[in-house]
């Protein structure tokens, strides 16, 4: 006769908690981070923010001391690198001044107005994500300061990320290095466009759709999609693009912003270009065109039908619930 296997009490509790966890995961995923999960997150973040502020103030001297200690070892190399950088920057400054004059002249000829400076909100980074897989930062300005979801965040180097959730007092910023982030970029030197994908702590991947476009080490990549103001530096190419047996060129790039060591950031008061987003999402999911080798069977031929078969890539289907062209997050 069948008898249920006896389970001791701790194992029973363990199984119960695992089931509760799985239910929570399912409910939260179905609500896409909104619903009760979103409300709870906002509430807990609001309650936890004062604790983080106190601990942050209390531990800052210790953190800075430890940080300085670790920096000592890299100071010599850093000095040498900075000296070289100063020489290069001085050279670039002279070139930039000359270019600025020419741009001014050309704008005057074309009757163009330079883009107005965007308003921005300065914020300090309050906390990091809870694990190494959490590529986000909490900043100490929220809804009350005028921040809303999707606003771009920059530092002195360039694009840091974008706001993904806001409470009254704080906001959460998803870094551009997050593996779910894809940013359309333009190579400053050539004007060619591509897509930059985050890979966590490893360098980002740049995919150029024009296989003839040369990308060299040091090329600066700037924003070129509707989510961010155009022209914000995003990354610097680490190695020349090499052609692969595919439709795109791939290479790696590092963020121009100090993504891992940011302290102060600026949140740009910028409204997304919805039409641009739709275009970008369409670009990110190009249909695979397979030429039809076999002629259509007699009787099946229809003048209205194309001789190609379009197949959705599948990748990214169902994504972009926030309309940003990013997955999950």
């Amino acid at each position: 006769m069948w008898r249920p296997t006896s389970v001791d009490r701790p194992t029973g509790v363990f199984i119960g908690l695992i089931i509760v966890s799985l239910v929570l995961i399912t409910v939260d995923l179905r609500a896409s981070g909104a619903g009760i999960g979103g409300t709870l997150r906002e509430g807990v973040q609001d309650v936890f923010t004062p604790v983080q502020r106190v601990v942050s103030v209390g531990t800052r001297p210790v953190a800075e001391f430890l940080e300085d200690l670790s920096d000592i070892f890299s100071l010599r190399g850093e000095n040498r690198r900075l000296r070289d950088e100063v020489i290069a920057l001085e050279r670039e400054l002279v070139e930039a001044k000359s270019l600025q004059t020419r741009v001014g002249e050309l704008e005057a000829i074309l009757g163009l107005e330079p883009p107005a400076e965007l308003d921005s909100i300065v914020a300090q980074v309050l906390a990091v994500g809870v694990s190494e897989f959490d590529h986000s930062r909490v900043i100490d300005r929220g809804r009350s300061a005028g921040i809303t979801v999707d606003m771009p965040v920059v530092d002195e180097g360039g694009l840091v990320g974008r706001v993904i959730s806001v409470t009254d007092e704080v906001s959460r910023v998803q870094l551009i290095t997050d593996p779910s982030v894809r940013v359309a970029v333009r190579v400053d030197r050539t004007g060619e466009t591509g897509v930059l994908t985050g890979r966590g702590s490893a360098p980002m991947v740049l995919e150029m759709f024009n296989t003839d476009a040369a990308v060299v080490e040091g090329d600066t990549l700037s924003t070129a999609d509707g989510r961010f103001p155009a022209g914000i530096p995003v990354a610097r190419v680490l190695e020349p693009a090499r052609s692969e047996v595919s439709f795109s060129l791939r290479t790696t790039a590092e963020p121009t912003a100090q993504v891992t060591r940011i302290d102060f950031v600026r949140v740009l008061v910028f409204t997304r270009d919805e039409a641009g987003i739709q275009d970008l999402e369409d670009l990110e999911r190009p249909p695979i065109i397979i030429p039809s080798d076999e002629p259509p069977a007699e009787g099946e031929s229809d003048e209205g039908l194309p001789t190609e078969t379009s197949i959705p890539t599948g990748e990214g289907e169902g994504e972009g619930t926030t309309g940003t062209g990013e997955e999950g997050g």
Partner: protein, 173 residues
Amino acid sequence: MNTTLKYRRAVVVVGSIILAAALQTTLFLRFRPFDAAPALVMLVVIAFARHLPAEFALFTGFSAGLLEDLLSQSALGLWALTLTTVAYLVVRIRDRLEEDFSLLAPFVFGLSVGGITLFAVLGTIFGEKTLADAGFLRNILVPSLYNVALTGLVLPLLTWALGVSDKQNPYQV
């Protein structure tokens, strides 16, 4: 166990987990050797699960995980599942651990690696792209090593805070 002592221990457990979560998200904001930080909350769960009654240890793991979920963008329940599993493993192995303290460091390392790996795998299954992070091995190993380095400080401190000694039969608290 008298009620006062029970409440005192509950306060110690809740306070320690909140403090660990706050330290993990603030202290290691800028001081990040090798661009990583210890999994402090997991270490605190391991420390408490060594001494608390089994059911209480499991609820501690679950609650600590839920707090981490609520402080991150990961799906609600991912960390809860991970830390409940970690607490369960501690409860199951702690008898052998108390007999030989030299096993403590490898035990913490193994649990940390296992816990973070479980989170990464579950995250990927549930669409978090955790394993798409090119540095996922480093993200698992470095925090685990930091946890081992902190074992000598955190475990005795929390044992003392609970009001038990390592020599005492641990599950009587």
